[in-house]
């Protein structure tokens, strides 16, 4: 069991897990944004076992990000229930890591690359505790893994788009979660960055992490996804294996 912070953030489960529960269970879920009459997705029923890698496919606006945000606790459900690792949404923060889309970050904020990665350790520190040697060592290891160590002291806005995307992956890794929600991890990056991120994601899958990836990109390599789900017309459906 991971150490629980003295002043942990809101509604963390306190390290008590149901190890045999599936990673995700959606039961008649309806999702939508406040003020909009039409739901983005409705009637979503889905169960994802631990250690599986799932792709959410669909056009822009189909609801891929909306689905991930609802699992991450960023969007309240209109109806239905989502169980995350046996807990309600937002009750097991340290075991759920979320990789947002590149555009959701304020890259102009005065922050170094090293400090940005360290934010991935905050969930294990809780309120008032600052990152110590252990967290810095772990952050440096993630920077090494994503080949960003030489850029650690740069400001985050001094990185290229691909490097920033790798930075987001590094932070997601430092979070150390069992369930990773990845929103367009390959969006607008070049081949070299894509290859590096792909290698890291394949390693996570090999470690037995559960990966749910929103993408319209199928260049993840053979065997990366265990199942593909298509989103369209407000519905989610399983794609037949190729």
């Amino acid at each position: 069991m991971l150490p629980v912070p003295l002043f942990r953030y809101h509604a963390t489960c306190g390290g008590h897990h149901t190890h045999d529960a599936p990673a995700l269970v959606f039961t008649n879920v309806e999702l939508g944004y406040a003020g909009a009459d039409t739901p983005v997705l409705s009637g979503v029923n889905l169960s994802i076992d631990r250690g599986r890698s799932i792709a959410l496919l669909g056009e822009n606006g189909a609801g891929k990000s909306t689905l991930l945000k609802s699992v991450a606790g960023l969007l309240p459900l209109r109806d239905g229930k989502i169980s995350v690792l046996g807990h309600g949404v937002g009750q097991c923060h340290h075991q759920v890591a979320y990789l947002p889309q590149h555009r959701d970050i304020d890259w102009g904020f005065p922050m170094s690359v090293r400090r940005f990665v360290l934010t991935g350790s905050y969930i294990h520190l809780g309120w008032f505790k600052r990152p110590g040697k252990k967290e810095r060592v772990a952050a440096n290891a993630m920077l090494e893994k994503l080949q960003l160590a030489s850029l650690a002291d740069r400001r985050i806005n001094e990185l290229s788009g691909g490097q920033q995307q790798r930075l987001l992956v590094a932070r997601t890794l430092l979070h150390g979660a069992d369930l990773l929600l990845l929103d367009e991890p390959f969006n607008a990056i070049d081949t070299e960055n894509r290859e590096l991120i792909r290698t890291v994601l394949h390693a996570l899958k090999a470690e037995g992490k559960t990966l749910v990836t929103a993408t319209h990109d199928l260049e993840f390599g053979v065997g990366f996804f265990d199942a593909r789900y298509c989103l369209g017309d407000g519905q989610l459906s399983k794609e037949a294996p190729a």
Partner: protein
């Protein structure tokens, strides 16, 4: 004069520290609004014979919480919420002032009067400064995260909305201390200008805060010195000194690039 300098430095320190977050999070309009919306509270306190600090504090907190509440609801955008609250509160202040025969009584409230700083004001400014510095020291990492990536802050349960409300309340406290020194109409300058000058160069929040504090203290010192020797309005002199610092900082950065 010593009392004026100390009050100016205290207000300058807490405004500069919190101003870094206000400027970086593009909440300068809110900072500007706060310095205007304290007016009815100050006038009310003045007319009741109560220390204007408490009137300003009440109005500033009401504004901070009101804007926070209005903008969390999705019917009104944040800038519109600030605009509505600003103009309404300022109009209320002007209406209350018009009930009194002479506007001259309110000169110190509008334009500041460092010479009128009492010992009690110093204690209050000192207490607010300690509170602001303590709050920032305790939750700086969460404030930083909520600023750079509010979604991730939400995912880990660090409650970015509450961080934001706390930031609004701390800002309200800082502006109230600045109002005593430079007046209601120019208090925004102490909040925004030193932070903006620092952020032109900053590579970290901590560095920006330190630079903003130096700019702020320099502005207060130079402004009061000029005011003393040339009989200028102290508030205007301080604000102009801060504006000059920003101008130099920006110009050097532009030339360097």
């Amino acid at each position: 004069m010593q009392r004026a300098l100390l009050a100016g430095l205290l207000a300058g320190v807490n405004c500069a520290v919190i101003g870094v977050y206000i400027v970086q999070r593009r909440m300068s309009f809110f900072g500007g609004a706060l310095s205007h919306t304290v007016l009815p509270g100050m006038v009310f306190a003045f007319l009741r014979g109560v220390d204007v600090f408490w009137g300003a504090l009440g109005a500033a907190l009401a504004t901070a919480l009101g804007v926070g509440w209005l903008s969390r609801r999705r019917e009104v955008g944040e800038d519109a919420a600030i605009g509505v609250v600003l103009s309404g509160m300022f109009a209320l202040g002007v209406l209350m002032m018009s009930q009194v025969n002479s506007f001259r009584d309110f000169n110190a409230l509008l334009f500041g009067s460092v010479l009128g700083v009492a010992a009690q004001d110093l204690w209050l400014a000192g207490a607010v400064t300690i509170l602001v510095l303590l709050a920032v020291a305790l939750i700086n990492k969460e404030l930083e995260l909520a600023s750079v990536d509010p979604e991730y802050a939400c995912v880990i349960g660090a409650r970015p909305n509450r961080m934001r409300t706390l930031l609004l309340v701390i800002t309200a406290l800082s502006v109230v201390t600045a109002v005593r020194v430079v007046g209601a109409l120019m208090a925004t300058a102490l909040l925004i200008t030193p932070a903006a000058a620092a952020l032109v160069w900053a590579r970290s929040v901590r560095g920006a805060m330190l630079s903003a504090v130096i700019v702020s203290m320099l502005s207060v010192f130079v402004g009061l010195l000029v005011s003393y020797h040339y009989d200028w309005s102290s508030g205007a002199a301080i604000v102009l000194a801060a504006t000059a610092c920003f101008g130099v900082s920006w110009l050097v950065r532009v030339i360097q690039r």
